[in-house]
Symmetry: none
Subunit: 224 residues, 2 copies
DNA sequence: ATTTCGTCTTTAGAATATATTTAGAATCAA
DNA sequence: TTGATTCTAAATATATTCTAAAGACGAAAT
């Protein structure tokens, strides 16, 4: 695998490089944003490890470059502290995962593996739909950067919708996915109405009207 | 350097010893957990290579001994399978790295070098979360510079939370990591409530309300 | 356009599931 | 043995999920 490590703390940079090279990986480094952006634009990396608190420039630039150049590198953001805003920033930047300092190299390693594994299966750590962002790690959904207070079923429902956005989901399918073979319930699906309603309320409270009723067939999550 | 190789597959054990001795290292071996624990407690090793699938005893014991005796040996776990839980468990147990069978000796060697090199950064010395600092060497947690009087379980719980900050940890996962496969307990998880409660009390006594309940899913350690 | 019927929405609250807290018994370590 | 720690058990508290029922809406038939 080929990595770009954009980190200006040189001993940390070196630790990561050594750790990754140990497994036969190819590493390139960047110590400031200019260098990081440039390399990210030109070369194809499998994973980019990006410290958003580099002294020069803005982390957005590097990620924008990646999007513009349609680079498919997985991005793991290193952030110095774990405040909510930083985390949200991480989500906004479109990173695949984030890790907060200080961390164990082995922990970084398992995140890298998760990101690489994901490329194949597509199970994202962070999901997005317009102003809605879901951090599956903390099981928290954000709307316009604000954490939503969702119950477990509401959260599961939202995740299911977003991972099937645009597709009509029948009550049967939804029930099967959220309740499994709990056959007591599967006679009627009235309870779905209630959960849909509750989730809708919380979404529309923030101005998001994404759950459309497909009369007679189900629901779909889609732009107005 | 001085090594302890705790491995009961004798030809593998011998291979490792020969490989390391060729570079002028001192090696001692142990073929069961009793021997490994005893030697680990008495002698000072730079690196301990520990097969967690030894037939006798529990891998926890050796690592617990190391913690109790405040031994600073780096630990590399050899594990027979490579499931994620095993990996995480290994890290949680305080190991510095892990390697899964089968492996090339050269790979083991580079892991050893990484572990030796590490000490520097990310060495498992100090963990931090806002005003909380944990000195893993002395197993002491400080809050605003003040040492907290934590019991073992409370300390372990706090470390587990902070090393997985932001992530929802189910009671099952917590139990698995703090109690291992002690299957007597794993039927119900009520005792978790008590430890959470106790830890919370001690944290909130200092104004830190970081343990959030994720109703129905678990707990997470996170900014308010 | 009106009726009709099946489908969906909405609400309130009952039932259930989950979490907190306390006290004390059992266990462990010094 | 003693004191600290850990676990058990039970009460209390809280949150979620489901049921039920009344009304609104959509679509097809008249």
């Amino acid at each position: 695998m080929k990595y770009l490590i954009a980190e200006d703390e040189l001993d940390l940079q070196q630790s990561i490089v050594t750790y990754l090279q140990r497994d036969g990986n190819i590493c390139e480094v960047a110590s400031d944003f200019g260098e990081a952006s440039e390399k990210a634009a030109i070369y194809d990396y499998d994973v980019i490890i990006l410290d958003i608190n580099l002294v020069t420039g803005s982390g957005l630039d590097v990620l924008k470059t990646l999007k513009k150049e349609k680079k498919r590198a997985g991005v793991i953001i290193i952030s110095a502290n774990n405040s909510l805003t930083d985390k949200l920033e991480g989500l906004d930047l479109g990173a695949d995962d984030y890790i907060t300092k200080p961390f164990h190299l082995a922990e970084l390693n398992s995140r890298i593996n998760a990101v690489l594994r994901r490329g194949k299966y597509g199970g994202d750590e962070i999901m997005e739909f317009n102003e809605i962002k879901i951090d599956t790690k903390s099981r928290t959904a954000y709307i316009d950067g604000k954490a939503m207070a969702l119950t477990r079923k509401e959260y599961d429902l939202l995740v299911f919708f977003i991972s099937n956005k645009g597709r009509v989901l029948s009550k049967e399918i939804i029930a099967e996915h959220l309740w499994g073979d709990d056959s007591d319930l599967l006679d009627n699906f009235d309870f779905i109405y209630v959960h849909i309603n509750n989730l809708r309320k919380k979404l529309t409270a923030e101005g998001a009207k994404y759950i459309k009723t497909a009369y007679g067939s189900g629901y779909k999550f889609i732009e107005d």
